[in-house]
Symmetry: C2
Subunit: 430 residues, 2 copies
């Protein structure tokens, strides 16, 4: 029988890799909770139409689609946002506002595996729906930074590049673009960092045939500060967008993460549904893809048959994050360990060894023993291989006086204790 390999672009999580994944996901979870988000999840697959209807063109072409026995077209989720919109829409009126939710879905995209991109990954999603307060945008950005800071990334390592779709829209209106052209321009600008200067110039000439308009758009894209932007803006709508972004920067400052955040007008996001502040988080050298990205969406729920309600959120994938943390030597999952490893120095004590093992486990402690009834030396070796903290040896003195020997594997010291006393409170020796 031939061995069948794993599918290209997927990962096998052997225990060491699994510990690392758990370390990342439990970090996401605890940071979400302390920032007041509640966890949710949806199914791994949805009706295909949920994804083709509203996702960015890139995502829709990368679906793993399937057909069930009833002939329904389904697809594995490539992202969480459509499921979030579906779930919120289903219960919108019953849910307390703002809806402040997070999820850590496994997602799949049928793309070519490459550095930072796999066909299967985990993506942390935080969203706040049902409020248009910039405080919600500030909280989302703070939560992403709160996590990255908690694992040791400083403002010298990463940067939140932040802009506003609403402000860019005002600038585009000033450059006489029609509102129905905006989306085309967003997609074009979003592609810029991924293309060579020549390839981008070619694409820009194709998408924006008017050379004057094109030139002015590039001038706008080179603005360095909110002050420079302010000097260009004329309409009330534009000034309101600028004021909103300025307020957001102030709030991020009060939250203590101003040093992580930077205005960057070139941040646009390709997805159609963004309407307000948009951001991407990068390593400072921009050598890697974005670690996280998000923004405000006013029409997302309505786009899925729901009410007009504004929301804001972000996603952070585990693949780029893991590369970044590896490079910075910040991956620190806890190694698995055994609290107590039991050894019977007398074969007739084996029944008692089983009893004690069961009792220690019921008390919440990790207890193990060697299935092969071999020498004490071999059993100690097994204990050591399992990263054991304390070895408990049942021997002649256990039969005579209920005493067991406890060996501290880190210190190499050993002592004796009454078995009953140990079992009364096994944590006393840890």
């Amino acid at each position: 029988m031939a061995k069948i390999p794993p599918v290209k672009g997927t990962r096998d999580f052997y225990p060491e890799k699994m510990a690392l994944r758990n370390w990342i996901l439990s970090g996401w979870q605890s940071i979400s909770l302390r920032n007041g988000f509640l966890e949710y999840d949806g199914p791994i697959f949805e009706h295909l139409q949920l994804f083709t209807q509203k996702s960015g063109e890139g995502i829709a072409s990368e679906l793993f689609s399937l057909t069930d026995r009833g002939g329904r077209d389904l697809a594995i989720r490539p992202e969480m946002t459509p499921t979030l919109a579906r779930m919120v829409n289903q219960q919108f009126n019953a849910l307390p506002k703002p809806i402040k939710w997070f999820s850590m879905p496994r997602c799949c995209r049928a793309e070519k595996p490459q550095k930072g991109r796999l066909r299967e990954f985990f993506q942390w999603n935080c969203d706040i729906v049902g409020t248009d307060s910039t405080l919600a945008d500030a909280e989302c950005i703070f939560t992403a930074v709160d996590y990255l800071r908690s694992v040791g990334l400083t403002a010298a390592d990463i940067v939140v590049r932040l802009s506003s779709r609403a402000m860019l829209a005002a600038l585009l209106a000033d450059l006489k673009f029609n509102p129905d052209e905006f989306e085309k321009v967003y997609v074009l600008l979003d592609k810029r960092p991924k293309l060579s200067a020549e390839a981008f110039a070619e694409l820009a000439a194709e998408q924006i045939p008017n050379p004057d308009q094109r030139k002015k758009l590039m001038q706008v894209q080179s603005l360095q500060s909110l002050k420079e932007v302010g000097e260009l803006l004329h309409t009330d709508q534009a000034r309101a967008a600028l004021a909103g972004l300025t307020e957001l920067f102030d709030q991020l400052d009060q939250l203590g993460i101003a040093d992580y955040c930077q205005f960057d007008i070139t941040i646009v996001r390709g997805l159609a549904y963004y309407t307000g502040p948009v951001f991407e988080i990068f390593d400072r050298q921009s050598r890697l893809r974005a670690v996280a990205a998000g923004g405000r969406y006013d029409n997302l729920l309505a786009g899925f048959g729901g009410p007009q309600a504004s929301g804001t959120g972000f996603g952070m994938g585990d693949v780029v994050l893991e590369i970044l943390l590896t490079e910075k030597d910040l991956l620190k999952p806890k190694a698995a360990e055994v609290d107590f490893f039991l050894i019977d120095a007398e074969p007739k004590l084996f029944d008692q060894l089983l009893q004690v093992t069961a009792q220690l486990r019921q008390a919440g402690l990790t207890a193990a023993f060697d299935y092969r009834r071999t020498s004490i030396g071999k059993q100690l070796k097994q204990a050591s291989a399992l990263n054991t903290r304390f070895v408990i040896i049942l021997g002649a003195e256990t039969i005579e006086s209920n005493m067991v020997t406890i060996k501290d594997m880190a210190q190499g010291k050993q002592s004796q204790i009454l078995l009953n006393k140990l079992l009364e409170n096994p944590r006393q020796v840890l």
Copy 2:
């Protein structure tokens, strides 16, 4: 835009349901760890052939299959065992033995949704590979019971029904069945509890045309104790199988779970790969499907192109478990709560409120505030809706003397504390 519904047979985990799922899965995880299992996981999909090659016929017909852009046939995992076999085979020589692993995969089966069966579910898998010691079987059964007992199920609620494929094989040999007929008989016997007496009799007559053989098989199936079985056995192989099962019952007794375990010769398991002890865990009234099931497999790895190495394991799904725990009123997930909800009694204190919020979160505590800058009364209401433990009010006295008011929401009491002192160690008030 029309609303698109979720796919039939899947679940939306709104925060309350998600808390329940997390409660179940974190229970599985902590019980696995204290019993010495290490966590692993594989991809959500595999090459289709991995599942069609060796899974039971029932499972193979229930696959969600898909094709990637390279034309490869893939399928979402309907169970974990093939992935386990693949992963163990890939690194068999490098892995320390015994391999003692657990996983809690999301699995999908394209079957008709019904009570206790969904098209998407979570299944706890524990396996010990690379040892033929019955201690490994005992540890698997103990681990399953350790979990069920930890959530409050007693020996009056559930029962582990235990038999042995090896022993049944010896009995079948005695009844002059050819070894190549055994699998057919296992599948037949496994179907018995799911069929009416008539339907079973009809199927049995079809599968075992010899009436005498059929009658004797039914007599064997009515044996009530290991002693009765012993009286029927003639060969050394048969006696060895009986001795192994007796030893296993002794070990389960030493581990303190004899009252949960019961010999039941009708437990056979339909899957082809079992070769030794097999068990199923049921509610005592047998009103529900099995909560968990497993057994020993000698040829599983070899069946996937790997070495001849024995293993034993079990699976427990979340769907039947949740029904059982609901019926017994044992579902006790922890409700989400907010440690500190901050209120500014003076609008100019809002910047400071944001600063304090960020500091409390960095200290690991859940902190929240109201985005709407409304009255204190409304903010208190919001705090209450979020299940807040303590409200912190910044007011005139904060400006004057750095004091804040702390309101204990459960007790209704309030007191004052220096803000600096609170932030030095916020846990002091919890």
